[in-house]
Symmetry: C2
Amino acid sequence: VAPETLRRAGRTGATSGLDVDAELARYRDLVVATLLADLPPATVGGLYGLVPSYPSRPSKGLRPALCLATCVALGGEESVALNSAVAIELFHNAFLIHDDIQDESELRRGSSTLVAEHGVEVALNVGNATNLLGLQRLMANRPILGSALSWEIMQETERMLGKSLEGQARELEWIRDNACDLAADDYYRMCLLKTSWYTCIYPCRVGALIAGRPTADTELIDRFGWYLGAAFQITDDVLNLSVDSPRYGKEVDGDLWEGKRTLMLIDFLQLTRGRERQRVHRFLAQRRQDRTPGDVAWLHERLVETGCVQRARADAAQLAEASYDAGLAAFADAPQSAARDFLLALPGYMIGRDR
Amino acid sequence: VAPETLRRAGRTGATSGLDVDAELARYRDLVVATLLADLPPATVGGLYGLVPSYPSRPSKGLRPALCLATCVALGGEESVALNSAVAIELFHNAFLIHDDIQDESELRRGSSTLVAEHGVEVALNVGNATNLLGLQRLMANRPILGSALSWEIMQETERMLGKSLEGQARELEWIRDNACDLAADDYYRMCLLKTSWYTCIYPCRVGALIAGRPTADTELIDRFGWYLGAAFQITDDVLNLSVDSPRYGKEVDGDLWEGKRTLMLIDFLQLTRGRERQRVHRFLAQRRQDRTPGDVAWLHERLVETGCVQRARADAAQLAEASYDAGLAAFADAPQSAARDFLLALPGYMIGRDR
């Protein structure tokens, strides 16, 4: 399919007239309401009292939606997968809390980060409490799904946590060692670990397991999620440079301040020469607090002028296409359903979004 | 028993002539060697490459020793509990890494903390990787212990993590809200959650489960661990004020710099009056970085002069006695063994230690 068709499919739900935004919001509201309804009483001020903060903020809820929709598209019941979808959303929120501590971020989902408002001590505790609530949800799967399936989902989770940590470590290492000679392939390998597995492959696999698909059948679903996650991450990195909307909820140019090795920055590092090359190397060698707004604005401008941003957008569109094709094959046996339409509309939606 | 007998028992292994230090070292070496032998290859510089750092440093290894000794004393096999003991040590190391981030500590087990050496980003990742390795160990229990017992140990772990987080949150809250009117009971409740469950009750319960003791039987073991943990924590707090030994491995007076609500500080806050009371309240209201060495030295001196340190030592001795009595009852059916002697020697050892 052509990118334009895909983008239109993302807006309109392929040919089915499905409203992707509305469907995403429905999944999200269901999962967040269940998550918030079952939290332990906030007896301890610093701990469970702050757990609802991130989940209550505006968000896409992509991960639990992928889990629920995959389960339903493959013939499973939404209500049976709900507990696992809540666990996935809890792990994601814990990850965001820890990530904000690591990146010293100021803004998350449109409000102050926990670390900016309450400091590292409290934020780290709230992150750990949120992770624990995720683990408790997985343990609560046993009476719902039986012991064998609950254990398999625990294993999927352990696998996902390992891949995310490894991907994140790789990214940290690049910044720490000031890696300036990376290739697009390095980025994609990191992205498979850090984003695709965590954001797409893991939720889809869990949904497929609950629907009764044996693990061996998930290869096509893995490919669907792998490309979808990469399209998602590249679009995220592009949005970080271009968005001026309150819906976005993060700091604009935050990636540049952090020296994050995005596909665009890797592209720019490969093509730049002479004094410009020296300037970007010098910029990246600095500590975050020593970087200047002038340098950040300059780098932002150069990424646009040299076509790095445009090429990244084109790559994201190609990945979305590949994800759509893999999704068609993965869900070829599945009867037409809103869940299936939703999944197939996501690749186009991903690259068309503004938040 | 009298405190002096108990202390002697701690040195000599009750009447059995057991060398507690040597036995503790044997358990520790076994667990650390197993832990280090099975780590994933250090392919990623920032992540698994730093996981061995804390486990390799000199430590007591109390927690895995409690697990192994309880299992053996109750008729179980050490080799069958080893995997769980390694998991317990991994969770403990992850906790220490996170704790050092939260407290901005400089020194751990005699060397620089991970956060001081590598920053919050890397340290947080290494802590999470260590937690994940603990989880993977628990999942590896399945072929060793079967699915029902593996699940029970997972539940014990979830319970322990919840209690630790709650205890730690309570302690954080006291510092944040500058709580100055706490009672000894508040301290003991926090200590049950933060120290006793985590350090003693959880490892003993896991050991008992593996030995085949049903959960209902663990009430006496819980009491043994509850008092042992409190004696351990109070001794730890006293050591923080008094130790000038390289074996100690933490910053002397670190608790005072942090404003930590130890039993001694709570005691002092209750008895102090007038200008001295104002001075300590003012000191505690300050941020850590605004506190002065002069004030810390003054508070240290006053805790000694007013008998707070001595009373805490006496309380720890009473708790050790209560732990010994509960241990005698808990292991009354168990035949004489080195493991049983070791467990019964621990209360005395705990209050006699210098690190």
